[in-house]
């Protein structure tokens, strides 16, 4: 791996044809080990690539040695008789801490999404009303939505039992990139999309087989 600067200047072509080939094989092995989740044996790889086993083994060893260097945060190890890529254990803490800090996209279960959708379009709305529309019992997801500050209580409704009503919050607008609630697409607009879709689909790619008898 010493002549790499030269190789960089003229990729794929090195003075020594051999080392170019080696680099090529090593590159393929790197990609293969990367994409497979289960450890691959040298035999499997050799068979799939149609290459002699000892050549593959040598290249894999070189790959293992390369990734063992400290400037690599990944390692390729022999596990269960095969080769597998993973992050190095010494960086696990750093990676874990990093992943934790990532703000994940707004993710909701289907039940929560349904409830949120009903509240968004019907607010202010009570729990029985939500369950009625969804046709499902159990309002457990309300807590999830309240916890995530996507919905809030909006006073009580003046009917028997004075049930609490719910509305969406400012955080809801932020999460969905809305200036205000009037920006919510209306059902009519949504149905428009669906209707136009049918028009498009009704126009098949090939000529229709069975046209209505045109000129009788």
């Amino acid at each position: 791996m010493q002549e790499m600067d030269a190789a960089e200047l003229a990729p794929q072509v090195t003075d020594e044809q051999n080392s170019g080939e080696d680099a090529q094989l090593q590159a393929i092995l790197e990609a293969i080990v990367y994409v497979t989740d289960e450890p691959l044996t040298a035999q499997q790889i050799a068979a799939a690539l149609g290459q002699p086993l000892d050549k593959i083994k040598r290249a894999l060893d070189a790959l293992v040695a390369e990734y063992a260097k400290p400037e690599h945060g990944l390692s390729i190890r022999e596990v269960a008789g095969g080769y597998k890529m993973s992050t190095k254990a010494e960086h696990h803490e750093a990676v874990r801490a990093f992943v934790k800090k990532l703000t994940p996209p707004l993710k909701l279960s289907l039940a929560a999404l349904e409830t949120l959708a009903v509240i968004a379009y019907k607010q202010p709305v009570t729990t029985p009303e939500i369950m009625d529309i969804r046709g499902v019992q159990g309002a457990g997801v309300l807590k999830t939505l309240l916890d995530r500050k996507l919905i809030a209580e909006a006073g009580r409704k003046d009917v028997v039992g004075r049930p609490i009503t719910y509305k969406t919050t400012k955080e809801f607008l932020v999460q969905f990139g809305l200036k205000d609630l009037s920006e919510l697409p209306t059902l009519k607009e949504f149905e428009e999309l669906g209707r136009l879709e049918l028009v498009e689909e009704a126009q098949p790619e090939a000529a229709p087989e069975n046209p209505p008898a045109a000129d009788a």
């Binding site: 990367y34 994409v35 989740d37 993973s86 992050t87 696990h92 990676v95 874990r96 992943v99 934790k100 994940p104 996209p105 707004l106 993710k107 909701l108 279960s109 289907l110 929560a112 999404l113 349904e114 949120l116 959708a117 009903v118 968004a120 379009y121 029985p128 369950m131 009625d132 529309i133 969804r134 046709g135 499902v136 019992q137 159990g138 309002a139 028997v160 039992g161 969905f176 990139g177 809305l178 919510l184 697409p185 209306t186 059902l187 607009e189 949504f190 149905e191 126009q203 790619e205 090939a206 000529a207 229709p208 087989e209 069975n210 046209p211 209505p212 008898a213 045109a214 000129d215």
Partner: protein
């Protein structure tokens, strides 16, 4: 008259697509379109499509009218004196501009397609799952579009759900049994009995619901659960649930009994 020749006739996305193809294939100068010839070819295409029962959208017809209009404008002689004062714009200009505009986007679409070819030849294998906390909700990433789509789905489902008017006086025990069947069909977890009763809007409905519950508990379709003494009473689907509703007999018998 489904003709085997059908697929020899190219399909076009729209009139601009067709015009662009005519112009390109014949290497016509876009700034000097022989409008009579192109109009004729365009109409020929429409005619053939009609013969083959290929339905062309209204835009094709509209464009045909536009072409004929341009053609007639080009045939009419202009007063040379008037032209000196206010030279008339070439009647083809607007069409040419639309074609050029459309062509840019069609080529841009091809560029996007090529980019996809490259992206489909590479693979990623992120390992983030190993580093995510286990309590992370795997949920769905949600967009505004999902929100309206979901609401539409919910309403759609409600529309197809048999509706039992529970706030009218007519509600009956069999109605309530059907209602409960509906509730528990997709719900394997326990449901609060209080919630169920609170949803009823009339005394009669509550009584019918109560009788319906007794009936289903007796038939071992539903079971009662209570976590602790004086705790909330829950209702849960039992193994017998499917069997009770499987045939029509049970329901028929109940209907009989209450009518």
């Amino acid at each position: 008259m489904s003709s085997p020749l059908n697929f020899h006739l190219e399909q076009y996305d729209g009139p601009l697509d067709l015009l662009l193809d005519l112009i390109r294939k014949q290497q016509i100068n876009i700034y000097d379109i022989p409008i009579a010839r192109i109009t004729q070819q365009y109409l020929d295409y429409m005619q053939k499509a009609a013969q083959m029962d290929i339905e062309l959208s209204a835009e094709f017809v509209y464009m045909a009218a536009t072409l004929i209009h341009i053609k007639s404008r080009m045939l009419l002689p202009r007063d040379p004196e008037l032209d000196k004062i206010s030279p008339e714009e070439d009647p083809r200009t607007e069409l040419v501009n639309r074609l050029l505009e459309y062509e840019r986007f069609r080529n841009a679409a091809e560029m996007l397609q090529q980019k996809r070819v490259v992206e489909e030849a590479v693979w990623s294998n992120p390992q983030i799952a190993q580093f995510r906390a286990e309590d992370d909700d795997p949920g769905l990433a949600v967009t505004l579009f999902d929100l309206v789509k979901t609401f539409q789905n919910v309403l759609e489902r409600a529309k197809h759900r048999p509706v039992y008017e529970i706030d009218t006086e007519e509600v009956s025990v069999p109605d309530m049994i059907r209602y409960l069947r509906n509730v528990f069909q997709n719900e394997s977890a326990a449901v609060s009995a209080r919630d169920l009763f609170e949803r009823q809007r009339s005394r009669r409905a509550m009584i019918c619901l109560f009788l319906a519950l007794l009936e289903l508990v007796k038939l071992q379709a539903l079971g009662l659960t209570q976590k602790d003494l004086f705790g909330e009473i829950g209702l849960k689907r039992l193994k017998g649930f499917e069997a009770v509703f499987a045939g029509g007999e049970t329901m028929a018998a109940i209907e009989q009994g209450y009518n």
